[in-house]
């Protein structure tokens, strides 16, 4: 319910419908496009990305907010790029072109690009769609690892509540009628999760902290 709208508003890609958004005590609309690009990076799916770009080229584009008028990469830029490549484990893929990659690999490359942008906040819109269960877990674990290793905040939208419950520090649950924010335990204790879906098919099992199909 309105996940994408929320994320797009938060990341400044879309004008806000109502209210005010601020980051690091500054209102989003007071930030210049350049500063905003150095504060929030995004990972979006299904964009018309040129598949001819090599992995390194794509990640290098994450440095655009820092480069000069023609986009020359400085020594620091190159360091940040190789740092991002190492963090996401892309050494073996960095010479490949995007059309040679699987969906999961491309997702990793896009995450590395956001890392290279070196922002305190990374916003991802459904980073796990089109991925199989293994790669969903892989991407989300990667995100978890990045929060601890790079000290960045990561906010993402997902339908994979079971996975999110296991990995996230805080969740925002959005339904048509209500919005709840809290840690997984808080949400479970408040019985928020069991009221998300109509109860005729699935139910929330507190013991295993996951949704189960009614038998």
């Amino acid at each position: 319910m309105g996940k994408s709208t929320l994320l797009r508003s938060l990341s400044g890609v879309q004008p806000v419908l109502d209210g005010e958004i601020s980051i690091l005590n500054t209102s989003l609309k007071d930030l210049s496009p350049e500063t905003l690009a150095q504060t929030i990076s995004v990972v979006l799916t299904e964009q018309p990305i040129s598949k001819n770009l090599s992995v390194t080229e794509l990640i290098a584009l994450g440095r655009q907010p820092y480069t000069n008028w023609i986009g020359t990469l400085s020594k620091l830029d190159k360091e940040k790029i190789s740092e991002a490549i190492t963090l996401v484990n892309l050494e073996l893929l960095k010479g490949k072109r995007c059309f040679e990659l699987s969906d999961g690999q491309l997702q990793k490359v896009l995450i590395a690009r956001a890392l290279a942008q070196d922002t305190p906040l990374i916003i991802l819109d459904e980073p796990t769609t089109h991925l199989d269960m293994y790669h969903q877990a892989y991407v989300l674990k990667l995100l978890k690892k990045l929060t601890t290793e790079t000290n960045k905040s990561i906010l993402f939208a997902t339908h994979e509540i079971n996975l999110a419950l296991q990995l996230c520090d805080k969740l925002i649950v959005m339904t048509k009628d209500f919005v709840h924010i809290g840690t997984p335990t808080e949400l479970i204790n408040k019985n928020v999760l069991s009221s998300i879906f109509p109860s005729d098919l699935i139910y929330f099992d507190n013991a295993s902290v996951s949704f189960k199909i009614k038998t």
Partner: protein, 343 residues
């Protein structure tokens, strides 16, 4: 991007190919002039045959410059449009510029008969065609800019450009239907395009527009590279999308509009050269792409002009036919050879 260095050598080769083609172009034509005399005339070494001197300095040399300016200008505007719209089928004329120019010229040539004989004589001169063509392009450009200021979606501009093309084509065909054969022929000859009719003064004016357009294109290089990720990513990387779009449209219009005004609507070069160059220099970096399409466009145009003169004969074929006749099979061959086309 790490591979940029390897392409420098290729660029240097392209520069030499272009110079060679330019010299070849000057030396070929319906009048045979020995190479030694051409050299003497070009570098004003010694007195030579006066009519040869005239042919070289007042006809062939301006034509070479026109070929270089039109080829490179169209190629750059084609590249700009392909990147802006993220569409391999885009070319310099997708905004409807050439349609606007055609309408302007058609109104002058074919509409002149409606204003009577004397008006027709005044109206149909070289300069009035240039002005009519520019005004036509400008009108379409203003309409596209107004639309682009209102629209958030870049793709819609592409469709609006196509609609303008259909509209103007319809008006032109109505005009053509009521026009006498002589006027019709004159209009059709204009639409064939021609490199050979430009005086030095006109070449100078054209090159001013060329420089301005290329300068704006160069100033957009960084944003063009960012646009390869799509507009949403570009916005998240700090690109001011509508301002950037405006600049790219202005650069394309300056280049394609002025070229159409002076040389007619030259087809194909703008669409094909960026693809040809990407086959030779497989890069996405506009820092390499822009100089290479400038050279590639100039080379292709010079080659087409040589072919159009049909060396050894007295006839000259329309340049517009040659660009497609040579260019289309080359692009088809390159794509078939590669089998996989990724844009």
């Amino acid at each position: 991007m790490p591979t940029a260095k390897n392409y420098k050598a290729l660029l240097v080769i392209l520069v030499f190919v272009m110079i060679f083609m330019a010299l070849l172009n000057v030396s070929l034509g319906s009048v045979k002039i020995p190479f030694k005399d051409i050299f003497n005339i070009l570098f004003q070494q010694s007195e030579t045959n006066e009519s040869w001197q005239y042919i070289i300095l007042e006809y062939r040399l301006p034509k070479v410059f026109t070929a270089i300016l039109t080829g490179s200008g169209l190629a750059v505007s084609g590249l700009l449009m392909q990147t802006l719209f993220r569409n391999p089928l885009a070319g310099p004329y997708v905004l409807g510029l050439s349609s606007g120019a055609s309408l302007g010229v058609a109104l002058v040539i074919m509409g002149a008969t409606f204003f009577g004989g004397t008006a027709a004589a005044i109206l149909v001169s070289k300069w009035s065609l240039v002005i009519a063509s520019s005004l036509g392009s400008l009108l379409v450009l203003l309409a596209v800019l107004m639309a682009s200021a209102k629209l958030r979606d870049t793709m819609a501009i592409l469709i609006i450009g196509l609609m303008f093309a259909s509209l103007t084509a319809a008006v032109v065909s109505v005009l053509a239907y009521f026009s006498p054969a002589a006027q019709l022929q004159q209009y059709i000859f204009w639409s064939f395009g021609s490199l050979g009719n430009l005086s030095w003064q006109e070449v100078a004016i054209l090159s001013c527009f060329w420089f301005l357009g290329i300068l704006i294109a160069i100033s957009c290089i960084k944003n063009l590279n960012t646009l390869l990720l799509g507009e949403q990513y570009a916005r998240s990387l700090g690109v001011k999308i509508s301002r950037n779009r405006f600049l790219i449209i202005i650069a394309t219009s300056l280049l394609a509009g002025s070229i159409t005004a002076f040389a007619g609507p030259i087809a194909f070069v703008g669409l094909a050269v960026p693809h040809l160059i990407r086959q030779v220099i497989p890069t996405n970096d506009h820092r390499t792409l822009i100089p290479s399409v400038i050279l590639g466009g100039a080379i292709l145009m010079l080659a087409c002009d040589i072919a159009a003169q049909m060396p050894g004969s007295e006839y000259t074929l329309p340049i517009n036919a040659i660009t497609s006749l040579i260019g289309a099979p080359v692009v088809i061959w390159l794509l078939i050879r590669k089998q996989k086309f990724i844009f």
